[in-house]
């Protein structure tokens, strides 16, 4: 399946942040899908198969760690790079997120341009 634009799935339960990243990414020429819960994130990832996922950790219901683990355990979604963006700033948090399967770890506050450069570097890595 080929798309004209790169599709980024932005997962965050806090709408202002989620919409802020989505708006910025769209402004920068990306396609952005949004999920507010872990379940929603796994569902959308399966249905849309985005090119990148931006994952918050503190989520109602299934949290970001669990969602990341599930996506990385599924053959269909395993290849999708995940950038973890979280307000949890302890050393262990980043480690645990990477262990769950995250490819990048960013601490909030994270400016939209920082997220963008992370996504771009991940995509560049994924292309031959």
């Amino acid at each position: 399946m080929s798309r004209e634009k790169v599709l980024v799935l932005v997962v965050d339960d806090f709408a202002d942040n989620r919409e802020m990243y989505a708006e910025y990414l769209r402004f920068k020429g990306f396609d952005a899908a949004e999920a507010a819960t872990g379940h929603e994130a796994v569902e959308l990832a399966n249905s849309l198969l985005p090119d990148v996922i931006c994952m918050d950790l503190s989520l109602p219901g299934m949290d970001g760690w669990e969602a990341t683990r599930r996506l990385k355990a599924d053959d269909r979604t395993r290849h999708i790079p995940i950038v973890v963006v979280t307000g949890h700033a302890f050393d262990g948090d980043g480690q645990s997120a990477l262990e769950a399967g995250g490819d990048r770890f960013l601490t909030k506050p994270c400016l939209p341009e920082e997220l963008l450069s992370s996504i771009e570097s991940l995509l560049a890595r994924g292309q031959p």
Binding site: D16, N17, E23, S58, G87, A89, G92, P109, L111, E113
Partner: protein
């Protein structure tokens, strides 16, 4: 003349009869037979009717009937005719040696008894031997009294008297020989019975008599062994030599030792020889030698001497032992007494003497004390006389006669018995108990004090345990509170970041003109929003750092790192600030400082903080960072500045949380006020010490003292 005719007439018949009688007498050795022939002849040829022949007894002077002829009463009894009773007329007649007429008068018969002849008037013819000075050997009583009969009786009496006397002599002679030989045999017997060798020798030493003991030593028999012969020859030689010595000495009785050899065993024997000249043999002098075996005696004597010697040595040993014992018991400080089974004190040492003996000139009190001590001791020791136990101990009091002091003692007495269990002595040691009592008293005091102490310690321990528990509880509560606080701060941090993320994000988007172009005024205001948002973020980051440390979630990772490199790195990172400040910034690193082992990340964070503080609070002048060796084998990193300085009263405050010297809202210097608080905590984590020296308006010096190795 007539007489000669008769003689001649009768010669033919009587001569033959007399001749045959003499022949018969000559041929007989039996007195009774001879007498019988005689009396028979008198009756047959001499005209006698009754004849009785009497003979004097061989041993007693009594007349005994020997033969009779013609007696009507053949069983005759003779009256007592004792030749030693001269009042008897019959005896007198016999001793008168003449043929006399004897009449058995009524008076005679009454006094002396009746003769067995029936005739009252009798011829009494005494019988004699050859020698006329001897007593008669007997008598013939013949009846009837007639001249013719008397002549024949006289003839018979002569022949018979001589015959009986000769027979009696012969008999006596053979008796004497028998006695002599018997005596000889007895003597030999006696001599042999003597257990010692006995010898009789002549003057030349030849043996005349030797008893069997002597023979075994000196007489060789045929067929004896050579060894025995040689031994006997040697003995004879030795004996002869000894005899020669005896002869030389000229003494009547001579004693000397004579060594001989036992011929049968070959062993040495020692004899004492007693030689004496045999009495009554002067012309032919002989020696009687008695040898007494003193071999055993000599051995016994030697043994006795050796025993005596041993006894003396033993006695000396005992004396020495006793001296030593006395020395030992005298050296013992406690009184020691030895009592014999009768209860008498036989031995005591000097300390005992002080208690139990009176000194010269002792006063009455001392005398009383000694008597009292004696009584006490006697009563104590008496326990052991009656008790079966080998030991007895008791406590009692004695009085020192010199000081008059009463001393409590413990007496320990032991029985000393022979192997048979017979009591020989009792040894008593008196131990002064004053020291023991004092010790016991002190011990009691000590125990009391100790138990008091123990009680106090126990109380203190209880208190301590309680306090400890309290502290632990407080500690737990504090820890919990701290954790809660950290958790709370972490949550707060998260909750701050989430909206801050939106604020900074949208601001950034607006400033990038994503929402459309901005006026200069809008841009300026938006930049202020951005700046305050970033400051808020800095505060939140610092709070997060502190809460991380306090929640124990900041681990220490040690490693060796180059100090010079670290300093260069810090200066490089701060380069934008340095260049903007126009201050002179320099570093000095001592040559001896190379590497240090610590948590590089935390050291860098501290140094970075101190340097940025120095840049912040210094308007002009210089900033210097130095790395110095010491204190001890540690390392000091110091940051000097020429800034505003800190008043001494504020030196401790500046390390507190959210503290700046000027904490008013309108303060001149930015910053969260948490930098030094974090540095202090980090220094604590890595075992380092952070301190400040500063003077207001002059400058400050912050020092981080690192231990060379991790504690």
């Amino acid at each position: 003349m007539g007489r000669s005719v008769v003689t001649r007439l009768s010669l033919t018949s009587k001569s033959e009869a007399k001749l045959s009688l003499l022949e018969a007498l000559l041929g007989s050795d039996e007195p009774a037979e001879c007498a019988e022939r005689g009396v028979d002849w008198l009756v047959e040829h001499g005209g006698a009717e009754e004849v009785l022949c009497l003979q004097v007894g061989a041993k007693d002077p009594r007349l005994v009937g020997l033969a009779a002829a013609g007696l009507r009463n053949t069983h005759y009894e003779l009256p007592e005719i004792d030749l030693e009773r001269p009042d008897n007329p019959f005896t007198a007649a016999i001793l008168g040696r003449q043929v006399v007429v004897f009449e058995q008068t009524r008076d005679w018969r009454r006094r002396f008894g009746r003769l067995p002849l029936s005739a009252e008037t009798l011829l009494l013819v005494p019988l004699f031997g050859e020698r006329t000075d001897e007593l008669p050997i007997g008598a013939l009583l013949v009846a009837p009294v007639a001249a013719k009969v008397a002549n024949e009786a006289r003839w018979i009496a002569e022949a018979l008297g001589k015959k009986l006397a000769s027979l009696r002599r012969f008999e006596a002679l053979s008796d004497a020989e028998r006695r002599l030989s018997n005596q000889n045999a007895e003597l030999q017997h006696i001599v042999n019975a003597v257990s010692d060798p006995l010898l009789l020798t002549d003057a030349e030493g030849r043996m005349i008599v030797a008893n069997s003991r002597a023979e075994t030593l000196f007489a060789a028999l045929d067929g004896e062994s050579d060894g025995r012969r040689r031994a006997i020859a040697l003995n004879n030689m030795l004996f002869s030599a000894a005899l020669a010595q005896v002869a030389l000495s000229g003494k009547e009785i001579h004693r000397r030792e004579l060594p001989l050899v036992d011929p049968s065993e070959g062993s040495d024997l020692l004899f004492e020889m007693i030689a004496s000249v045999a009495a009554g043999a002067r012309e032919n002098p002989a020696l009687v030698c008695v040898l007494r075996n003193v071999t055993d005696l000599r051995a016994a004597t030697e043994e006795l001497e050796s025993n005596l010697h041993k006894l003396r040595a033993a006695e000396a040993n005992v004396r020495r032992d006793r001296d030593r014992l006395e020395l030992v018991i005298d050296s013992v400080a406690d009184p020691i007494l030895v009592t014999d089974p009768a209860g008498n004190i036989v031995l005591m040492n000097t300390p005992a003497e002080r208690l139990f003996t009176l000194r010269a000139g002792a006063n009455q009190d001392a005398q009383r004390a000694v008597r009292a001590n004696d009584a006490q001791f006697s009563s104590f020791v008496s326990n052991l006389f009656f008790a079966a136990a080998p030991r007895w101990s008791a406590e009692f009091s004695l009085v020192d006669p010199i000081s008059g002091e009463t001393t409590p003692v413990e007496g320990v007495a032991g029985r000393i018995s022979t192997e048979q269990g017979e009591l020989t002595a009792i040894v008593t040691i008196l131990h002064d108990r004053r020291e023991a009592i004092e010790k016991a008293r002190l011990y009691e005091q000590l125990k009391l004090a100790s138990s008091g102490l123990e009680r106090k310690v126990a109380e203190a321990t209880r208190e301590l345990v309680w306090q400890n528990e309290l502290l632990q509880r407080q500690h737990l509560a504090l820890e919990q509170a701290s954790k809660l606080k950290s958790q709370f701060l972490a949550n707060v941090s998260h909750e701050f970041r989430t909206p801050l993320n939106a604020i900074l994000g949208y601001t950034s988007m607006l400033l990038q003109s994503i929402g459309g172009p901005l006026t200069a005024h809008q841009r300026k205001n938006l930049e202020r929003v951005d700046s305050n948002g970033r400051h808020l973020l800095a505060i939140i980051n610092d709070i997060l750092d502190i809460s991380k440390i306090e929640a124990g979630r900041s681990s220490v990772e040690n490693g060796d790192f180059d100090v010079h490199e670290l300093v260069t790195e810090v200066i490089a990172e701060l380069e934008p600030l340095i260049s903007r400040s126009r201050l002179e910034v320099g570093s000095e690193i001592e040559a001896s400082v190379t590497t240090v082992r610590s948590d590089r990340k935390k050291v860098k964070q501290i140094v970075l903080n101190l340097m940025s503080n120095a840049l912040k609070f210094t308007a002009q002048g210089s900033i210097r960072i130095a790395a110095l060796a010491g204190p001890g084998n540690g390392l000091t990193i110091a940051v000097f500045d020429t800034g505003i300085g800190i008043a001494p009263e504020h030196h401790s405050k500046i390390f507190e949380d959210f503290r700046q010297v000027d904490s008013s809202p309108t303060r001149e210097y930015g910053g969260t006020g948490l930098g030094l608080a974090i540095c202090r905590r980090l220094a604590g984590l890595i075992g380092a010490k952070l301190s400040v020296e500063s003077a207001l308006g002059v400058g400050s010096c912050f020092k981080l003292e690192l231990p060379r190795s991790v504690p």
